[in-house]
Symmetry: C2
Subunit: 355 residues, 2 copies
DNA sequence: GTTAGCACTCCCATATATTGAGTGCTAACA
DNA sequence: TGTTAGCACTCAATATATGGGAGTGCTAAC
């Protein structure tokens, strides 16, 4: 692949795509000849473009218009033609500054990352929150709120803090809660949500036989409720950037797209990147198989800690997207995010890493 | 007020407004005569409408069009003509069901409230998160994360849980942190953020003389950082409902409005309801003095606990809004939200209530 | 293989009817 | 004096031509 086209065709295809990305208008042969000096006349370019169309790389909106890239064209561009664009000094500086102050909390880190992704690309950022299943308990506290209720607070090693109010029998005192907390901490800390073994749970039951009902509730909340509260949550940034895209000046289109973006589960599915591809995954137009997203492309990557993937992030924009720019930004930000999260782990003794 | 118009004029004005609210089209004299049987001919209605226009209650988009309500017209309608519309059984039932499961956490309650507000009105919901300054500390924990850092977790009496990672000197151990937590709890619990007195702080310093630097940091975070993290935060629900309003089919308008809604501080200002008005505040068109929101109206109310206001909620929609419906919903939901928060307080001993 | 030339296509912007809902005014009527 | 039928008038919105222009494909010459 990359060899089916001769050099001149490649250069012309590249020119068409670049021009279309910036102008959003069909590109004619004259434009190519003028703006991108290939040393040939418009007529020659016309012939080449006709060939490219026949091969499926270009399309014509109507007979007497210029050409626009087809999805296949974009795909070829992304795979073979495009060259990565480095981030400017100003951009790197901006990222540095934004991150500097906000690296102490997972929520903040995700937020900043989304902001930057959208700001730097002018498209919409989609950032999956880190799956909590992969983090391990650092500290569990059961705190008295009133006679009937206690606040369960779980601090994870990566700085995620989850909490949930639970009902407890009126007979349980603050001291009871402290005792329960102590046992839970002793038994569970260091373990991930998913790796809580039955043997562990049995031990807990034995030590806290008195509080069976409360323990049941707490363990249920810890295992199911808290994880599902956090997992598959998605942060959307720069949603309104869509409004600047000429392809979404039509309110009807906007409505369908917004309707889709409202559904978190759908976005979660969308964000399942190809893990075999260690770098950036690009989905172009119809490669996203959702009704109403055919005009969109998605550039995404998986972030993680210690080689272990814990979420993904991406940028959603029109098919006519500045892939070169976006891919660089996504790549860079993925590294940044992974690094920031890595920092939240720093100082922790090594823990079991499973893939 | 309410007496400047004779009965027939009132009925005609009301008819025009009701019709315009549902159709979004200028209303003609024939329509009024046909749809709202007043027992007079279109010609008579025309005369009356001309009068109403002269008095400033109606406007004409152009000479040969029907009439639309002016802002003054809407104002008169809201103040004198409109009758409240009760919620249907189905609606009350929906609210009941939604609230049932999600009343254990302030965040959830706010979320559900916003969802319902937007769903029931088809406009955009704006819900201020409860000011944390009014809640008091229930429990403060300083938990070891690694050698350099600790997680500060503050549980408030109304169920708000805040946390923040802080740097601590490497010399401080887990036991030190526990000791600090114990003192902080003993001294601060029961007090609101705002009412932490200097005498208290002195006492803390005396008891924890060893940890001066850490204490400084913790108190700073408690007093300034955590509160500002939460206060003036705003939950927006049903943002996309705007897309269904005919007045926002124009993408340019959408862009300005969305741009405004992006700015939380601006929304906070907007949400300052008139506290003298114990019930619902209605801001119509130009009464909202922000460039770009002239076509919008806002219906809002203050919610609170034990007579003490802790935030406000509202609905933002086009000036051509179903005021009758929206006002009922806002009123109802304000009660619901206050009640739900009240529940989060239940069981607590009475605390100082200041206004 | 490349290019100038040219007829052809089709969108788009502009100008030009046509329509129709709605008005204001007048004059007749109760 | 208030109400109403009648009618000419207005003006946005919708269709209907019209011309210009950008761009093409094809042909023939280089």
């Amino acid at each position: 692949m990359g060899f089916e086209l001769d050099n001149r065709k490649k250069r012309i295809l590249q020119a068409v795509i670049k021009d279309y990305i910036t102008t959003a208008e069909p590109v004619g042969s004259r434009t190519i000849a003028r703006k991108y000096g290939l040393g040939v006349s418009p007529a020659t370019i016309r012939n080449e473009m006709a060939d490219l169309e026949e091969m499926g790389f270009l399309e014509q909106p109507h007979t007497s218009a210029g050409r626009i890239p087809s999805e296949r064209g974009y795909r070829y561009y992304v795979d073979c033609l495009m060259q990565k664009e480095e981030l400017s000094f100003d951009e790197e500086d901006l990222i540095q500054r934004e991150y500097r102050s906000k690296i102490d909390d997972v929520g903040q880190v995700i937020h900043v990352t989304g902001q930057l992704l959208s700001q730097l690309t002018s498209y919409t950022a989609v950032v999956q929150k880190p799956k909590i299943g992969f983090s391990s308990f650092k500290n569990i506290q059961l705190l008295e709120m009133d006679k009937q209720r206690a606040m369960l607070v779980a601090v994870m090693d990566n700085g995620i803090v989850q909490h949930r109010m639970i009902e407890v029998p009126g007979s349980i005192t603050g001291n009871d809660l402290a005792a329960i907390s102590a046992v839970l901490n002793a038994k569970l800390s260091g373990f991930t949500m998913e790796s809580i073994k039955n043997t562990l749970i049995k031990e807990i039951y034995i030590e806290l036989a008195h509080y069976r009902r409360t323990i049941d509730l707490v363990l249920d909340v810890l295992r199911y409720s808290l994880a599902s509260d956090n997992d598959d949550k998605i942060y959307l940034g720069g949603l309104f950037n869509i409004l600047n895209q000429p392809e979404f000046q039509n309110v009807e289109k906007l409505k369908t797209l917004m309707g889709l973006l409202e559904q978190e589960d759908l976005l979660s599915n969308l964000m399942v990147a190809d893990p075999s591809n260690s770098g950036v995954t690009v989905r172009i137009g119809g490669e996203i198989s959702y009704q109403g997203m055919q005009d969109c492309s998605m550039v995404m990557a998986i972030y993680g800690v210690k080689g272990q993937p814990i979420g993904s992030l991406g940028v959603l924009g029109p098919t006519r997207m500045d892939y070169s720019k976006v891919i660089s930004v996504v790549e860079y930000m993925t590294r940044k995010l992974s690094f920031a999260l890595e920092n939240l782990f720093k100082g922790l003794v090594d823990k079991e890493v499973k893939f």
